[in-house]
């Protein structure tokens, strides 16, 4: 999504001023995307140029209302209906760290995997706490959905680390600790 699609989506429900759009954009995206007002007006100018919005007359305070047009609505519908490119990033940092650790004699790859796992669980704990705080502020649904998305991605990373470790053990044949009978 770009700022452009975000603004069209917000204008689809009602006409708004530039500053209202900025506030609504930030609230709807759950605090993960801060906009400056300059970006909002630049984008609105382009949308007006392309016939996607119409600019109303200014009110007494000099604020102008933006309305979505039929062309704006069809652009929005096209964007919402298109699947995002879902190929994983080719140079994922976690992937590269683990791959590099496999060929690095001075470190134990399983230690690196564990260190990454601990880091991810700490991130999960931090998200969970943010969510509890958001719930207390009555700001639940949007916050919950944002955290759900982050949590599910971290989970995928953790499961991948688990799999790395299993494959590593399968390859090196590490056995559980055995002790001689006392």
């Amino acid at each position: 999504m770009g700022v452009r699609e975000g603004l069209l989506a917000l204008l689809d429900s009602e006409p708004r001023y530039g500053y209202q759009l900025k506030t609504a954009f930030e609230a709807t995206t759950g605090g993960v995307w801060a906009l400056n007002i300059g970006q909002v007006y630049t984008t609105l100018d382009r949308l007006a140029r392309d016939g996607r919005v119409e600019v109303g007359p200014g009110d007494d305070a000099g604020r102008r209302t933006y309305n979505i047009t039929a062309e704006g609505r069809s652009e929005l519908a096209r964007w919402l209906g298109t699947s995002p490119a879902d190929a994983p990033p080719p140079r994922d940092e976690l992937l590269l760290k683990v791959l590099m650790s496999l060929g690095t004699p001075s470190v134990d790859a399983r230690e690196i995997i564990q260190a990454q796992r601990t880091g991810i669980v700490e991130a999960l704990q931090a998200h969970r706490r943010r969510l509890r705080a958001a719930a207390r502020n009555g700001d639940e649904l949007v916050g919950r959905l944002v955290v759900d998305a982050l949590v599910l991605r971290l989970e995928a990373d953790l499961r991948w680390l688990d799999l790395c470790e299993e494959r590593l053990i399968a390859q090196t044949g590490t056995e559980p600790t055995r002790r001689t009978a006392r």
Partner: protein
């Protein structure tokens, strides 16, 4: 304050025919009141053994397990049974519901064994069932319940009453994500009220709820993730 649960240098070995295998080697763990500790690790890493030892359902080969500052090895069978009944709530993978008792009667059982009258026990059991999101008649028998409902009954039985120590082994296994979160909300609420909770889970999303996460591998603690306390945390704990 004395922690309710303390493991000091605890080991548990089994003979598997080919030699002695250490299911748990020299694990020390102290859980503070009002703390939720999650234990993660691959299968066979010793998670369930740790929980069995903590609950006095198994005895260590080496080391000491203390509940309320008392070494479980020093207690008579009778005293151990009383301690387990009054202080410890269990939710284990094997649900162990009694088929001849209804859902609510299963939950009432630990309270009645503890001498609480039927009326008080029933009220507390109904409340616990409501807290775990059990809906529908509580007078149904376990065979008439779905897997998720059976799990909710087992959880209600584990948390009913004023248990100081809650031990949960994959309590969210048969539940969907939202159902699992409700259980974690419940365990967190008990934690906020001062209980100690030890949760074995392989679900990272649920480990995220814990104040501390221990990672077990081959019977040893290999790492620990600690939630950083922030203003939000302090506020939630008053």
């Amino acid at each position: 304050m004395t922690p309710v649960l303390e493991l000091r240098d605890v080991s548990r070995c089994y003979d598997d025919g080919a030699g002695e295998v250490a299911a748990l080697s020299s694990v020390s763990l102290s859980v503070a009141a009002g703390e939720l500790v999650a234990v993660m690790g691959p299968s066979g890493s010793g998670k369930s053994t740790l929980l069995q030892l903590a609950g006095g359902l198994d005895r260590p080969t080496d080391g000491r397990v203390l509940v309320d500052g008392r070494d479980l090895a020093d207690l008579s069978t009778r005293a151990l049974a009383a301690l387990r009944r009054r202080r410890v709530g269990y939710v284990f993978q094997r649900l162990n519901l009694l088929a001849s008792l209804t859902a609510v009667e299963n939950v009432m059982l630990p309270l009645e064994l503890d001498g609480i009258g039927a009326r008080g026990a029933r009220a507390a059991a109904e409340e616990a069932l409501a807290q775990v999101g059990f809906s529908g008649s509580t007078k149904r028998f376990p065979d008439d319940l779905s897997g998720g409902e059976q799990q909710r009954v087992a959880i209600a039985r584990g948390v009913v009453g004023e248990r100081a120590l809650l031990l949960a082994d994959e309590p969210t296994g048969a539940l969907d994500t939202v159902g699992g979160e409700a259980i974690l909300e419940l365990l967190s609420a008990r934690r906020d009220a001062g209980a100690e909770v030890v949760l074995v889970t392989h679900e990272p999303r649920f480990a995220g709820w814990a104040d501390r996460v221990l990672f077990l591998r081959d019977g040893q603690v290999v790492d620990e993730a600690v939630a950083r306390s922030g203003a939000a945390t302090l506020a939630s704990r008053r």
